[in-house]
Every structure is written in structure tokens, then in C-alpha cells.
């Protein structure tokens, strides 16, 4: 039987494991190879039963039930369930009134779908650099990107930390712009108790199966504050002919998962808090910063490296990062690069072919779209000196596993010489954003 059941438990971690020789050098790894597997999403008997129930119901009603249940959970006024997160962002943009040729401000660091959704709305993405601490769109840099063609600002709650919506709302209001949220990483994340997706004029959110709140495979949902925007999105679906509907199979899985979302959120928060506290005890590593009143959902957990605190600042930071990645992967913690090139450096924004013949970029009278990577120093810096834990922390892992992750980071932190040697050996390594762009 093909099953995702994990047959072997992890041993209870011991502090002395961090003092063993590095696995890269032949020592025992903190997490042995046969116990590294983690599952996501967590699929239970409740998901099966819901599927058995839903198959006997009208598919449209299953999707509507899901849409309504999740809309209430988020606290949004209006919602449209969609086939994907990209579709939801597209609908949100069109709904708030983005028109062909308009400009929409998005962060340079996000998943490519944030910017492709802008192109799908036949608008021009204008990329702005990130805040070096939160990694979200930097409000202090937004204002100078606003032109007479700007229609909306669409921050992304990167990795699950809500962007500074208060500052962005103030800018949007000052310039009569619409404020959208790309909440694709931010299920259950909130600012002062207000859930991501319900704060902007509109929002799009991916619900694909690698998100904290997954539906059965692929899906998304668009949220709207005002009825006029919701109606405009529905009208667009009718007039464009485009079919963005969610499958009832995806929705059925979402219904049963929604019941358990608060439980999984609590474990993710517990694990992230534990790891962040433990990383505070290292010199090289630090966990994500979470502003007061903000709730991070930890769809991903980005670890910042500070080589200078370990006397490694004479080495190029991306070489240190690469060495650390090799060492920690050998210990059984799959910390990696998530994204290696800012979005404006990806092929679709270099070639600007769009829908064909350069549309909608051809609507712009810009000679310079501002896509040169030199405009995004904070994004480049972050990419050079951080590593990301993705599925391994998204899944509600056992307490002993998060303890083991912390021990692995401590073990690397205790071995600066090994980092130095490995980083010095990597002479042929190119900086990551000069390599071919990857989507994740």
C-alpha cells in the first residue's frame, strides 16, 4: 500500500549531539537519513470522510460551502474561490479596478505569481525593494515608485509575516490608490487580530497543497472589502469567458482541513518560537523578526546568517551561506535557498513578451521599467545571507524534531573553522542571483 506513514520515530535529542564531529566530516548526523521525512499536508481520516460526503453532493454547493466557511474564518466581506492562487490575485486586481496599462507596485522578493498576476490583469508590475528586517515590501521606498499610472499597491506577506499594511494604507490613501494583499503565505497571520486577507481593499491567496491551509491539490481564494469590487470581479469572469473555478474535490479537502487549521497553526507557532529562541543562543544564526501585534504564520522560516559574529566576515557572504547549507543539510536539516533571483530578473520580466507582441508592456511609454537588479540591494543582500526552512517547519512536526533542528544549527555554529574551510574551497561558486532563476 502506498502510504505516507512515517514508520520510524526520531530518537530524543541530547545536547551532546551538538558536540559530535560534523556529519560533513564523517561524524553522526543530528537527524539520521532514515528519519528525515516529514509529511505535508497532514491527511487524516476526517479528510477521507469529508471526501465521501462531498462526492454525493452537488459540486458547486461543496465549493460554496468551503468559500463561505473560509470567508468567515478570515473575516472578509466577500470571497470567490478559484482554481489557483494566481487566479485569485488576478481576480483581486481586476476587482479593485486595475485596468490594462495601469501600474501595480509589488515587492521584488516574492513568488513569481504575484507579478504574473499583474501581467494577467494586463497591467505593469513595478518592483520595489524589501525591508531588510521583515523582508516584506518596504513602505519607505514605495512612494518614489508611484507615477500617474499607478493604480494599486500589492504587498506580499512574505513567508507568512504580514507586510506593514498600516504604512502602506497611509501611502495608498494619500495617492488615491487601491491596497491589495498577496496573502498566499499568510493563512491565519494577522495584525492586531485582523486576519491577513481581510485588511486590504482586496486580496488573493493561494491554497495549494504546500500552503499552511491547503485544499486538495490546487486552489485559491480572492477576498474583497467592497461589494462593487466583488461584483466587478464576477463581471470580469462572465465577460472574459475565463474559467477560474475551484474543483469540488479541492474544496472538500479544504473543508476538513479548515477544522484542524488552528491546531496546526498552534504547533507551527510553538515550533517557530522554540527555534527562534534557540537560535538566539548562537552567534551565526537568527530567526525571523516579528513586530509587536503581528502574528507570523511561518509558511516558511528564513534564517539570517551574520558571518561577522563568527569572525567570517573576510569571506564573501554567499560563500559562507553555501558552506553552511552544505553542512546543515548533512546534519539532516533541509535549509536551502528559497528563490535565488529577484523577480524582475526572471525571464518573463527580462523578455517582456507578455501575452504576445509585448502586450501589456507595450501599453507603457516607459523606456526603463526599473527591472535592473541593482535597484534591489536589500533583496540581493537577503538572498546572499539567509537560508530557508520550508516544508520541514510548515508541517506540525514533533517537538523532538524541532529540538533536533536547533541542535543542528548549534552544531554548525560551533564549527567556524569548518565553515571557513568549505567556503574557501568554493572558488568556482557564482553568487546565486547570477545563476538561472528558479521559481522556488
Amino acid at each position: 500500500m502506498k502510504t505516507d506513514f512515517i514508520r520510524k520515530p526520531l530518537a530524543l535529542p541530547q545536547e551532546e549531539w551538538a558536540r559530535n564531529p560534523l556529519a560533513f566530516l564523517g561524524g553522526p548526523s543530528i537527524i539520521p537519513e532514515d528519519v528525515r521525512k516529514t509529511n505535508f499536508p497532514i491527511i487524516t481520516k476526517e479528510d477521507l470522510i469529508q471526501m465521501f460526503v462531498s462526492i454525493q453532493q452537488d459540486g458547486e454547493q461543496v465549493v460554496e460551502e468551503f468559500q463561505e466557511a473560509y470567508r468567515k474564518y478570515v473575516g472578509a466581506n466577500y470571497a470567490i474561490a478559484t482554481a489557483s492562487g494566481t487566479a485569485s490575485l488576478h481576480l483581486a486586481l481586476v476587482g479593485v479596478g486595475v485596468q490594462p496599462g495601469d501600474e501595480v507596485i509589488v515587492p521584488a522578493f516574492t513568488f513569481i505569481a504575484s507579478a504574473q498576476a499583474v501581467v494577467a490583469a494586463k497591467a505593469i508590475p513595478i518592483f520595489v525593494d524589501i525591508d531588510p528586517v521583515t523582508y516584506c515590501l518596504d513602505p519607505s521606498k514605495v512612494e518614489r515608485a508611484i507615477t500617474g499610472k499607478t493604480k494599486a499597491i500589492m504587498p506580499v506577506h512574505v513567508h507568512g509575516l504580514p507586510a506593514d499594511l498600516q504604512a502602506l494604507r497611509s501611502i495608498a490613501d494619500r495617492h488615491s490608490l487601491r491596497l491589495l494583499e498577496d496573502a498566499s503565505h499568510a493563512h491565519s497571520a494577522s495584525i492586531n487580530g485582523q486576519v491577513a486577507g481581510s485588511i486590504g481593499d482586496g486580496a488573493g491567496q493561494s491554497l495549494m497543497a504546500d500552503k499552511n491551509f491547503p485544499v486538495g491539490g490546487e486552489g485559491g481564494i480572492a477576498f474583497f472589502r467592497e461589494k462593487a469590487d466583488y461584483d466587478r470581479a464576477l463581471s470580469f469572469l462572465r465577460t472574459s469567458g475565463i474559467d477560474y473555478r475551484m474543483s469540488w474535490i479541492a474544496a472538500a479537502f479544504g473543508l476538513s482541513q479548515l477544522e484542524r487549521l488552528p491546531y496546526y497553526d498552534a504547533i507551527r507557532a510553538r515550533n517557530a518560537a522554540y527555534l527562534t529562541k534557540e537560535l538566539e543562543g548562537t552567534r551565526l544564526f537568527s530567526g525571523p523578526f516579528v513586530p509587536e501585534g503581528y502574528k507570523h504564520s511561518y509558511n516558511m522560516y528564513r534564517v539570517k546568517l551574520s558571518p561577522e559574529r563568527l569572525g567570517l566576515d573576510d569571506l564573501q557572504d554567499f560563500r559562507v551561506k553555501d558552506a553552511v547549507q552544505q553542512l546543515i543539510n548533512e546534519e539532516g536539516v533541509y535549509a536551502r535557498e528559497w528563490q535565488n533571483v529577484p523577480i524582475p530578473g526572471h525571464l518573463p520580466f527580462k523578455n517582456r513578451k507578455g501575452f504576445g507582441n509585448g502586450y501589456p508592456f507595450s501599453l507603457s511609454d516607459r523606456e526603463d521599467f526599473g527591472y535592473d537588479l541593482r535597484h534591489f540591494p536589500e533583496t540581493l543582500n537577503m538572498l546572499r545571507n539567509s537560508l530557508t526552512i520550508c516544508r520541514e517547519l510548515r508541517t506540525p512536526i514533533e517537538y523532538e524534531r524541532i529540538q533536533a533542528y536547533a541542535l543542528a544549527f548549534k552544531k554548525i555554529d560551533a564549527n567556524p573553522e569548518a565553515i571557513r574551510e568549505l567556503a574557501s574551497r568554493s572558488s568556482d561558486l557564482t553568487v546565486l542571483y547570477e545563476r538561472d532563476a528558479r521559481l522556488g
Binding site: 500500500m1 502506498k2 502510504t3 505516507d4 509529511n39 499536508p41 491527511i43 477521507l48 471526501m51 462526492i55 452537488d58 459540486g59 458547486e60 482554481a83 489557483s84 492562487g85 494566481t86 487566479a87 513569481i112 505569481a113 504574473q116 501581467v119 495549494m208 497543497a209 504546500d210 491547503p214 486538495g216 491539490g217 490546487e218 486552489g219 485559491g220 469572469l237 465577460t239 472574459s240 469567458g241 475565463i242 474559467d243 477560474y244 473555478r245 475551484m246 474543483s247 469540488w248 474535490i249 479541492a250 479537502f253 525571464l347 518573463p348 523578455n351 513578451k353 507578455g354 501575452f355 504576445g356 507582441n357 502586450y359 545563476r435 538561472d436 532563476a437 528558479r438 521559481l439 522556488g440
Partner: protein
């Protein structure tokens, strides 16, 4: 054909509940329900089933009929500013092509870019004649499985590898984006992505369509 925004006439019938529930349970039990999982077998399995059914070499799956239309057109370099002729365009097809910026023409000299086959429980057992006829009329087949009742789902089938490659390029995390993820190198730099949509299909939906196709000879 292609009015996928309307509700399918035939919902899933009771006699199929058990087999479909079983196949959904099997996929859920495997833990692999994400389209970009390296070890997914359901999407690959459906692609193979459709290739066999249509006797074509290349199949690309889509999460909607309009997504598949987009793939069929984009795969033949028919994009914004292009012209296309359709045999009997539905209202939805007319609207969608207009939205894509493609002009519909009636000139019979312009070849048909695709032929569509609507697959539902009523015609599931006798698809071969419709597929043969469609194959003879256009280089790309668009199969709309939405009428089976699993939600929007469609595919394109063609013998031209380039059509398939370009259609996959249209998808965020299509075959080439995934390849770049695994190898960290762009495998087709000359075939660059442009606008991209998430047209990826859920493995759970794919498994249901595959099961239906496997059992088509037993269908009414």
C-alpha cells in the same frame, strides 16, 4: 462544446461513488496531492492514458477548459495580436479569445488551431469516433473532461513536441520550471516563458479522470 461555465448535465452517478471514493482515498493515503511533487504519479498516469486514448505523443493537463485553449493557442504561437479561425466557437470561446487579444476570422484558408472533444458520462464509452474526427481536423486536440463532474479539467494532445513545450511554458511550475528547480539550470533557454498562469491540475482530480477513462468501456 466548451460551455464549461454552465453546470454539467450529468452529475456523478451513484454507481461510481464507491470506485471514485476508493481512488480518492488511495491518493490521499499516498500523501502526494500536490501537482509539483517529484514523485507524483497521478498526473503522469493521466497524461499517459490520454496519449493512449488519442494516439498522440504529447499531452499537457490543465485545470480548466479555457486554460487548455490557451495552451493550444500559445503552443502554436497564437497570442495577442494574432488571428485564429474556430469551426463553431461557443460564446465562451469567443469571449476568451477576445480577452487574449486574438481576433477570430472566418477565412477558410486559415487552418483550425485545435479541435475540441467534450468528454462526459454519456459519451465516455464511445469516444474513439469523436477523437478520430477531431484529430483529422486540427493539429491539436483539446479534451474537456469537465462534464465528468470532478470540476474544471482539460488537456491538450498533440504530436508536435514544440506545441507541448510551449504549452508547458505557459504554466507556472509547468514541466520546464520544475526541471529548473531540480537541476538549477534552465533547460530550454531559447524557449522562454512569457505571461504564465497557474493552470496546474490537482492529482486528486487527475486520478478521478484517469479512473473514468480506464473504465470507459464499461460506461453506459
Amino acid at each position: 462544446m466548451g460551455e464549461t461555465l454552465t453546470k454539467p448535465k450529468t452529475a456523478i452517478q451513484k454507481e461510481h461513488y464507491f470506485s471514485l471514493s476508493f481512488v480518492l482515498s488511495r491518493v490521499l493515503n499516498s500523501g502526494v496531492i500536490m501537482s509539483i511533487e517529484r514523485n507524483d504519479q497521478e498526473l503522469k498516469g493521466l497524461e499517459k492514458s490520454i496519449a493512449k486514448l488519442t494516439q498522440t505523443r504529447y499531452v499537457s493537463l490543465f485545470n480548466t477548459y479555457t486554460g487548455a485553449l490557451h495552451g493550444a493557442l500559445w503552443g502554436q504561437d497564437i497570442g495577442h495580436g494574432s488571428e485564429a479561425r474556430l469551426a463553431h466557437p461557443s460564446e465562451q470561446e469567443r469571449s476568451f479569445l477576445q480577452w487574449l487579444g486574438i481576433s477570430l476570422v472566418q477565412n477558410p484558408q486559415v487552418p483550425l488551431p485545435y479541435a475540441a472533444v467534450d468528454v462526459n458520462w454519456d459519451n465516455l464509452g464511445e469516444l474513439d469516433p469523436a477523437i478520430s474526427q477531431a484529430r483529422a481536423s486540427a493539429p491539436v486536440l483539446v479534451l474537456d473532461f469537465t462534464g465528468l463532474g470532478f470540476g474544471p479539467v482539460a488537456a491538450i494532445a498533440a504530436n508536435d513536441e514544440l506545441v507541448w513545450k510551449k504549452a508547458e511554458r505557459l504554466k507556472i511550475f509547468g514541466a520546464f520550471d520544475l526541471q529548473t528547480m531540480w537541476t538549477q539550470e534552465e533547460s530550454e533557454p531559447d524557449l522562454q516563458p512569457a505571461v504564465q498562469f497557474n493552470y496546474r491540475l490537482s492529482p486528486l482530480v487527475a486520478a478521478c479522470v484517469k479512473l473514468s477513462l480506464l473504465r470507459r468501456n464499461n460506461a453506459s
